[in-house]
């Protein structure tokens, strides 16, 4: 939700259901490889090496380094949010009401405080 609004602002986007896992068409170039890489890194899976190689082959070195930075920093950002209980600001809470309900995100433990 931190990022969702910006895609809409530039007229691009992805299928939000795809971020919850399972078989979804996300409609993003190299989306399968990006999702697999983010999953493997976050879970510490044995297939990280394979996921890394496939992503590099799809998007090249510069894109891969940026993907590495994004996946890594969001593993820090989620811990920052969880450990401080920062609430959504009013605009974000209103703007994401539908997608939160659709994806079941309101059931995450962190929602108890973040929703305010």
């Amino acid at each position: 939700m931190l990022l969702r609004e910006s895609s809409q602002a530039i007229g691009e986007g992805y299928n939000e259901a795809s971020v919850m896992g399972g078989q979804h068409q996300h409609g993003v170039a190299a989306g399968d490889e990006l999702v697999a890489f983010g999953e493997a890194l976050t879970l510490g899976s044995a297939n990280l090496v394979d996921a890394r190689d496939r992503l590099k082959a799809q998007i090249g070195g510069a894109g891969f380094v940026q993907a590495a930075g994004i996946a890594a920093i969001f593993n820090g950002l989620v811990r920052t949010a969880d450990s401080t209980g920062i609430p959504l600001d009013d605009n974000m809470r209103d703007a994401t009401e539908q997608v939160r309900a659709t994806l079941g995100i309101n059931d995450f433990a962190g929602a108890r405080n973040t929703l305010g």
Binding site: G31, V35, L48, G69, A71, N75, R79, P87, L88, T114
Partner: protein, 223 residues
């Protein structure tokens, strides 16, 4: 003298802004504050690294380096590093009552910075960077007096200019700067304000959002 984060020398095309920020983070983590000594801050980093590496193990199966940190500091460090989705207001209240809110925020900033930098190494396929030795330098206190209760677990600055999440650690300016400097460079590879970024990076915005959202979803992070 050992040069930390020699990404380019090791063959990784990492922007210099990321390299410089990671080096500055190592320097800052090794410096003492009036809440934590240099040795304690490095101990927090060491414990956070160990906890995250064992995040798929059940808590009672995890093993940690010897530590002189208090029980509360160890509990906070290990939980944030490995089990952050389980954190509640009551748990945080216990930690801040024991440690003090500012010391807790400094601890959080070290844990999340180590998490991000270690995850970056894993993403690249590179070993974790050795932690630096203790420093005799003491950081100036930067506790923020413009904080208030905004409904979070800890006080935060209000009003706030910039993305909402970037004020999460605003109770201690130096702690917030430590982590947010990494957010700025690791988000786009450039040293620019998190909320004022010009999008001319290799990945498209939808690609970035898909990846970030999937990482957040796996971590069961609502925010």
């Amino acid at each position: 003298m050992l040069q930390y984060f020699a990404y380019v020398e090791d063959g990784y095309p990492v922007p210099s802004e990321i390299t410089q920020t990671h080096r500055a983070s190592w320097k800052a983590i090794a410096e003492g504050t009036h809440h934590w000594s240099s040795e304690q801050r490095l101990d927090i980093a060491r414990q956070a690294r160990a906890a995250r590496q064992q995040r798929q193990e059940l808590p009672f199966n995890r093993h940690y380096p010897v530590s002189t940190l208090s029980g509360a500091a160890l509990e906070a460090t290990r939980t944030i590093a490995a089990d952050a989705a389980k954190i509640t207001r009551s748990w945080t209240s216990m930690q801040t009552a024991e440690l003090g809110p500012s010391a807790y925020i400094e601890l959080v900033s070290i844990v999340v910075t180590i998490t991000a930098i270690d995850a970056f190494a894993e993403a690249l396929g590179r070993p974790h960077e050795p932690l630096p030795p203790p420093s005799s330098h003491i950081q100036e206190s930067t506790d923020n007096t413009e904080v208030t209760d905004i409904g979070a677990y800890v006080p935060m600055q209000d009003p706030w200019q910039g993305p909402n999440v970037s004020r999460a650690l605003s109770l201690v300016g130096s702690a917030n700067a430590l982590f947010m400097s990494n957010v700025a460079v690791m988000y786009t590879g450039k040293d620019q304000d998190f909320g004022e970024m010009v999008w001319d990076s290799p990945l498209s915005r939808p690609q970035v959002e898909l990846l970030a959202a999937r990482v957040s979803s796996i971590n069961e992070c609502f925010y």
